[in-house]
Amino acid sequence: MITRLLRLAWRNLWRNPRRTMIAMTAIGFGYTMLLFVACLMAGLRQQMIESGTGLLLSDVEVQAPGYYPDRPTHLTLGGRDGTDVNALVAAIAADPRVQAASPRVYGYGLISGTHQSVGAQLLGVVPDQEQKITVLQTRIVKGSYLTRRMPKGVVIGDKLATAIGVKVGSEVVLLAPAVDGSTGNDLYTVTGMFHTGLDAMDRNLVLMPLASLQELLRLPPGRIHEIAVKLHHDDITATMTSSSALQVQLSKTLPVRVRGWPELAPELADYVQFNRRVTFILFFIFFLLAVMGIVNTMLMAIAERTRELGMLMAVGMRRVQIVGLIVAEAASLAGASLVLGAALAFPLLWYLQVHGLYLGGDRGAITLGGVAVGPLWHGQQDFTAYTQAAVGLAVTALVSALYPATRAARLRPAEALRKV
């Protein structure tokens, strides 16, 4: 019964191929555009999460309770006695959701070059491990990243280097309040400079080997401030689930506070939500337009076929079947449009993901929601959004067919037959 109805509906659609083609192209192309926008929006979200978490923040940060956000130097993991850092890192890395984990030490101090001295944030890392968490090593513009051969080497932001008047190879003095109240000071060599496009990092951050910073701050090797964690999946939900699981797991042995990036960078999480909402609003606008298109096409089809419909009813087709026929026609129209739209979209989405969209601007990245977005905008396949769009469109088609269908069902056979 339903197959017969669908076959009939399909045949009816092609009785006026031009109109059907126009409607199909309009809806199909609309669907293509929708996928295009969804893909770009998902790409933007992903890029923002990556650049927001990949430079400094990381996906999840494990710290002593009360350490964040003030980061007092004495509040290390495991308190005054510290902890077995390697064992803790191994315990975190053992979680299947975790891709990599790396210990960190933070300090605040003064960096002084040839003429000037400015305040700086000091970050001590284990270079080999840190590179699995963050991508700062890919943003080196001069010199090189930290190596094990240079325990007294530091990597600083390009703007910081300009501010204190130093080059790669220059000596700098670091001055920092140590944990015992004394003032740590020592001489270091600039081995490299990075440029991230984020002013706060390029102007303030000094990256150095973990052990060197511990020495400067008079922290013994077992005292660290944080373990930075990279996850396999870092969307908001997955991150929050993983961080709660780690919180429960690690609390068994050590007082810790585990925070996911949505908690550490709420403005970034807000942006991601906002981006999702904008995508949804665009979907909604498109569905409204699709309603117009389908209602119009179906009303025209009915007006044209008043006589025929009257005849069908006269020979015994029931009103329910008439409604069914019109709805089936709308459904086939929407279905065919979706297939057409998807076929058009496929190469486009592939191109977006692989090659990205060049946004121009030789000045490099722009800052959006507190993170840098590169000049190349890559798409990201968001199959949830694609399905939502398809289902939404199908539902829209069926709903918008109801009005023309009820109008058709209300026709009186005797009057309809007399129409030309």
């Binding site: 004495h74 003064l110 002084s112 003429h115 000037q116 001295s117 400015v118 305040g119 003095v173 670091l174 001055l175 309040p177 140590a178 944990v179 015992d180 109240g181 004394s182 003032t183 000071n185 020592d186 001489l187 008079r218």
Partner: protein
Amino acid sequence: MDRAARLFISKSSIATMEMQITNQEVQRKISMQFWSLGESNILLRIRSPKEDAGTAILKVGNKIWYYLPKANRTVQIRASMMTTSWMGSNFTLDDLVKQSRLTDDYAITGTFEGRRDGVAVSEYTLTPKPKAAVVWGTITLEVRQSDHLPVRQRYYDEDGKLIRELTFSEYKTVSGRPVPMRLVMQTMNKSGTKAVAETTITYEKIIFDKPISKDIFSLKNLKQ
């Protein structure tokens, strides 16, 4: 009032002092030596403990240098460094090597006359002048009526919350002038009701108006 502000400023002074820091994290004692010539030449050198020994600070005019013995370098310091905790203490570098005189930045009104803790005192309230770039909302200063020596100085933020309190005691007459030999700076908790950390500076020895060569206040001598 002006006399109180100029308490330790004289033609010259040489002092040995000890700073005892007590807070939740640290308990330490720093011993240092202090030279001053007029208002604009100051040299401060740390003698112990071992970790900080040799660190020295030189102020000439309104420029300030830091000598770091471990790095063997001299670093010029910006004004913003002056108003943060120095050596983990409750004093700032600005407190120790006064950059500016209170009377330049604040308007003064008398707000109390009478006896407190059995001592006749006058209290003055200092409010920032319109364009003064200062960190405090108001400062109150209590001086003894008998000799105008300071008793207590309280620092409030813009909301009128007490942030820290400086108390003077152990008055002595040195080189013919009366001075307090002991200064206690207390930092209050977040609600401004209780002291959470304190630093005591005790002058072991102080000599005023002894001729000092200007050469002491040079970058070369700083490294010594």
